[in-house]
Symmetry: C2
Subunit: 346 residues, 2 copies
């Protein structure tokens, strides 16, 4: 079944997609339907704002990304940025530009994913824009959240001797992407064959349906820890570590043996004949949290489930260094994904 | 001179474009450079959020829209939505997706327009996203503003006997668009010829460099008037009046003879052999304010410079009616521009 979007028009489509939306948060005073949304935050909180623009063919490939997953991920990556400030996401606005290739049913699937993410993380959809594009799909989401005035965590607060921590594991989302890209190439030449992803579910899930680390932010609060610096890992650990070190004017030493990597990631890297540490350091899209804490919090963080100590902060003149398993030292390079250096543009 | 964007990369381009940005508003605590911007509004204010996604070929045509003007307009149309809530815009985030066709200099021009608009309206750029697109340019701007808790004006507050007011004049931006489209067609067939726009400067300015009605919101406040309903006219007066009447559950009667139209708009409509009232009612992109006030404010609003009374609110069963100069009555139809019913999509 395919319903053309033109049969509903702009306002009709917005009404259709936002039907039944309810506001869950105290701070959401008025949502979709006026010139602007109206929010009200208490005076002991600051308001956090982050935004992302995702373009078809650059950030996602619809030949293997289901629209519902895409919607879910588009919302979650914004929540991740709010958690990375030690905050809580509360509202999003959703802007979509769609070409004629897409039907009302496609938009329902995309929106269902966004709504599911919002339900899971208790975030309200309070506005947006729906329009057409000449080619492809564009998704722009802005997320608004809150944090205690004195507990916002920036990238620039890391100090010498601070411990460097990472949540979850790294490189799996990147391996999931490699796997999907390989299957896409294979399937081009053999129609009707279903790819066998058994034993690789974790990699696909990390790529297609990432989660934001709400749980880690809550655990830190429960343990009474306010990180000195924090950010989420979207472009790869190397790139993010360099951001923290540059903005904090410090150096760092991290240890290869302590970088958390899942078993499936290791198996897949072997299969692809790729360097596992490089994948974990530069893969990107992990949406894990990278943070630093004072050395006094050593005991607390080392007991925290899902958190790994990977190194420590040093004087700036010592640079950003990776120590390999065999004791060699390498200067970190930010090889993170750079969408503005891609070559397949017109 | 043309510098390829790839030579700077994503972070390089962001740094280049946002260099020297300063935060002007008390509520802007931290701007560009972290996972999210940090804002802090006093507890007697609500926070307003609005967003727009503009796509090349749908919302703008770069064959006659200079990039600096495009940047200016992209920002101003968002400010307009905040004023339409009886608020003041304070911050924006700017997301851009650009194809290889664009150079660093192009992005500088676009950003210069955005920065100019922000300076004029005292708005801070606090974040955004810069990435690539396979084809064309996409601009997504989110604007955050504030309003007094008890002075936010929605679309749903119009009551029977309220007066209907409009700022400025209508239809000029639409005539400016017609003019530019005509010249584009003419110039295709005769290269090197410069179009003669003398005597039509106002129409071009309304199309290419619209302003948001900050002054009207300030005048209303100075006169002690809180409108019962308000919105900005982006899709055309007919369409917006119907929004207010539907959401307020009322009808309206407006008078053709009172609709404010500039002399240049009238001349141009004559030249194009178009119905002038239709252009003014359905043209769109005027970014004027449409609002309703209690009849008790009649004297105050009728003395207000730049504001015109065009009719009044009625019972819902009377519908939305336009009374022509010769006394005929027509039911209003929302023929406003609908980007999702355009036909030149792929």
């Amino acid at each position: 079944m395919r319903t053309e979007i033109a049969t509903l028009g702009e306002f009709g489509l917005i009404n259709h997609l936002t039907k039944g939306l309810q506001l869950e948060n105290e701070s959401s005073k008025y949502g979709v339907g006026d010139d602007a949304a109206v929010l009200s935050y208490p005076s002991d909180k600051v308001t956090l704002v982050t935004t992302d623009l995702l373009m078809e063919g650059v950030h996602f490939d619809l030949t293997y990304v289901p629209l519902k997953h895409l919607g879910y991920k588009s919302a979650v990556v914004n929540f991740s940025d709010i958690y990375a400030m030690n905050g809580t996401p509360r509202q999003i606005t959703v802007s979509l530009a769609v070409s004629k290739r897409f039907s009302v049913e496609d938009m329902e699937a995309l929106y269902a994913g966004i709504r599911l993410a919002c339900e899971q993380y208790h975030v309200d959809i309070v506005g947006g824009d729906t329009t057409s594009s000449l080619t492809g799909l564009a998704i722009s989401i802005t997320c608004i959240g809150e944090a205690d005035k004195n507990k916002v965590v920036y990238r620039n607060g890391a100090r010498e001797t601070d411990l460097i921590c990472v949540s979850g594991d790294l490189g799996a989302a990147y391996m999931g992407l490699q796997l999907l890209e390989r299957e896409k190439t294979v399937l081009k030449n053999s129609e009707g064959v279903q790819p066998d992803f058994s034993g690789k579910e974790y990699l696909l899930e990390r790529q297609l349906k990432p989660e934001a680390r709400k749980d880690i932010v809550e655990k830190l609060a429960a343990a009474g820890i306010v990180p000195t610096a924090m950010m989420d890992i979207s472009d790869g650990l190397s790139s993010e570590l360099k951001h923290i070190c540059t903005q904090s004017n410090v150096g760092c030493r991290i240890y290869e043996e302590h970088i958390p990597i899942d078993y499936q990631t290791a198996v897949m890297a072997e299969e692809f004949n790729m360097n596992l540490t490089t994948c974990a350091m530069n893969g990107g899209e992990d949406y894990e949290l990278l943070f630093t804490v004072p050395i006094a919090d050593h005991e607390k963080v080392s007991q925290m489930e899902g958190v790994r100590l990977i190194g420590h902060i040093t004087k700036p003149e010592l640079g950003c260094v990776l120590i390999t398993r065999d004791g060699q030292e390498f200067e970190l390079k930010a090889q993170g994904w750079n969408p503005l250096q891609e070559s397949d543009q017109k």
